[in-house]
Amino acid sequence: MNTRIKKIFRDLTTDIPKNLMLISAMMIGVFGIGAVLGGYAVLEREMAKNYLSTNPAAATIKAEGTFFTRELIDSLRKFDGVRDVERHATISARMKIGGDWYPLLLFVIDDFSVPRTNIAFWQSGAATPPLGSMLVERTVYRVIQASEGTEIVIKTPNGKQKAIRISGTVHDPSLAPAWQEQTGYGYITLSTLHWLGEIQEFDELRFTAAQPEIEREDIGRTAKKIAAWLTRKGFAIHEVQIPPPRKHPHQGQMNAVLSLFTIFSFMVLVLSSILVASSFATLMVKQIREIGVMKTIGANSRQIAGLYLLMVVLLSIIATGMGIVLSRFAAAVLYSNISVLLNLRIFDPSIPWWVMGVQAAAGLLIPLAAVAFPVLRGSRITVRKAIDNYGISTATTSSGNAWLATISQWTMMGETFVLSLRNTFRDRSRLMLTLGLLSAGGAMFMTSMNVSKAWDNSLGKITQQRFYDLDVRLHHFVPTVNADSVIKGITGIRSAERWGYSSTSYVLDVPYDIVQTYPDKGHGSFQIVGVPLPTSMISLPIIEGRWLNAKDSGAVVLNHIAHALSPSLKIGDSIRLSIDAKPTSWKIVGFAEDLYSPATAYVSMPAFQSAACVPDRFNMLKLAFAGRENAGIAEKTRLIEEALAMNNVSVQQNISAVLFRNAISEHMGVLVNSLLAMAILMALVGALGLTSTMSMNILERKREIGVMRAIGASPKTISNLVLVEGLIAGIMSIFFAFFFSLILSFYLGEFIGSMAFRSPLSLTVSQPGIFLWIIIILFGSLAATYFPARSASRITTREALAYE
């Protein structure tokens, strides 16, 4: 081995703590990227695999008043552009958990032994549920707090309450976890549906496309052809549901989470690269004398640069190797947790090789790029400058710093503070590096907290924009008088409004609705809602135009999700919306922000009743209670349920504000937690950076410290000097960090909000975030400078003055 290579190896093993810090800094970046990209790659692949494994229907055609026979299905299988067809039915039932009713979606399967579309995979128990029993999705147990073999009470729209046995468990990867949606999923036979009291038959027809990569427009064309064919055969087609092809209902949220992770992991890498650059600047300072000596014995700048770049490469290899190995474990934790949130089963946990390639490239190239400047600068130093270097920085406070001189005159400032202040500013480029590092760390930390807070505020808008405590949806339109008698009989109701709703779609050239709704009936749905005006139940922020008023007859306000379905629409445009497959005409008067709602068109209640041909009838109750305590709400909900039942009013579902908030909160939990994890990582890298730069300062001033010791400075004075210097740099960084966090928070909030919920998160400042960062910086600065300060105070006068 060349003698110079030996030198590099020995140098690496000489200052182990310093090199470990360098390795840690580089490793954190490589680790972050690997964990995120690894998790991302596995989840993206497995999400597609899971969803496609269910053989999701390209479209569902829903008939009204008629049902599909087996023979009809068989003939449809020969239809052009169709691969397979299955008849189906979906019932919005309810289940009783404790004393409360929860929504239960019942999927009626034609043949459990030969599932064809939207397949739920058998896990345990019966493969085909016997009469009077149902299979449930595996995530339901957390909601119903029961186990396989037990019975739960359920109620279908037209049936009576019945106890149904859970005979088996399935996994349906196309559905979000039941606990996340606060709903249940059951799978039954048609016989069991009849046993439950319903007379309904299979009224849905699901088909898969012959071409797997087909787009929505092509599916729509095929669906229209089938619908036309069915219409000719006498079927009344009510709705065609075409969800986004091959796209999991939670794809948007997952993309938001993973994009967030990716952005932050690259930020960590940038931060750690700044740290590596600053640490290498320290190393080069330490090595300047040796560089001078090597140059006097014949080394040229290229050879010197080569030596130190080799050192970086060796450190990078170690860091990258460790980062890659550790990141694989972290990636596994990440994809395992997110797979639970998305109800996925990981078929293949292998992380693709390209992830390692990205990590290796980032881990080797970015540190090299980061250290290129200090290394080249150090290696190009002239021999005279190198061997004349006596360890006292030549950088001095410039004459332009009048304000420093002024501050120094303030009598209340101790000499130590003044000296620390001057020392902080003596090397501008060093100060910039330290501030850059701490500001970047702080900005990212505060951004994490700000965005997290913005999520929380966004969640808070549920109660700021919705003033009702209970949303009761009925199976059928009922006369207004029925509601009045129910409400009057229950105490504690502050106010009640009778609303109307119906699923809808923009009317095209066909006599039925074409919607984007997924089979779970929630994701991708579009509804038209009749609101009594003025309303005391909601107050939506208007994005453009105005809200409805009582005089409006044909006016509609679209929420931002409905607007996103047809973005070319503008105020004043006329639109046609279908209600029960009948076209109705409306004029757009406003667009409103309506967080966490499906696509909704708001119209006045009289206009809705007129359009839906349901005069003096309603099918939704919005209730606000006098007391808003959770326990009270549950009790009142039960009373209302009972009263409605006594009046023969069938409830489809009731959603309390608390339940709704919980469901949304479950959706966003992963985002908030991941943001906080990132914040902690940022704080860690920032603290490492401060330690590094303070060590560098001490190293450069070893001789100066010796001089101070020689003229009477005690070890404590030296130690305080260094600590105060660290604190000054730390405090300064807080202001920069705050400023940058505002910019970052704005753009990140806009990006994530738009991606997840089509509504940017508003710029929010988290006061605990600022407070926490101040605490972290103050204690972190003290902790980070403690070791350099201690080492400075321990330098003996003789040792420092002899420093060469």
Partner: protein
Amino acid sequence: MNDRSELVIETRSITKEYETANGLYRALNNVSIGIHKGALVAVTGKSGSGKSTLLNIITGIDTPTAGNVVVGNIALDQLSESALATWRGNNVGIVFQFFQLLPTLTIAENVMLPMDFCNTYPKRERRDRALSLLELVGIVEQADKFPSTLSGGQQQRASIARAMANDPLFIVADEPTGNLDSQNAEAIFHLFTQLAENGKTVVVVTHEKDFASYFEQRIHIADGSIVDGALDTGEQKAVTVKR
């Protein structure tokens, strides 16, 4: 054996000025010297007189503001910084007051390093050469030890061995005994005498008056100018004392 009339180092009217906070500072003023091959030369003068600047200029570490330096028929001002590094590695051996051995290399490795940088000897021969040089300076038994375990005198011997590694044209030593006791200092001067007798040109900056007898040429500098020497054709000349 050696052609003592041959000038190895020659400076012609060199001046060196530095920009300082207090204005222009002239470290050397119109200095011309000539050093013969195989000479053992002392450069003396008070602190700040310009000794080290002169040494830096003849080793190519620094460049003169005016005038020329010719070393072994090479005009140093014609060489780039990189070419100077290679030239220095092949032609100059430098001994420092504080030894400046690289702490993470053993003594033998320190001696091998210049051969590595300049690629002057085949790899397999380098250790043997290092050991023979260490034997020459009397510390071959310390070859595999690290510098910190050696005494000051031993470290300075090692640094002389390192200066000899590429068989340079001349050796310069900047106060090589300034950090040593008198016994070790005498041993070092004795070593330099031996090197000069073997044909190496050795230039030593020193304050040691007790060892004046070792030198055959003495250049005394004060305030950047050569003193104690006759002026000829307007140029300051070094005082040459033949033993």
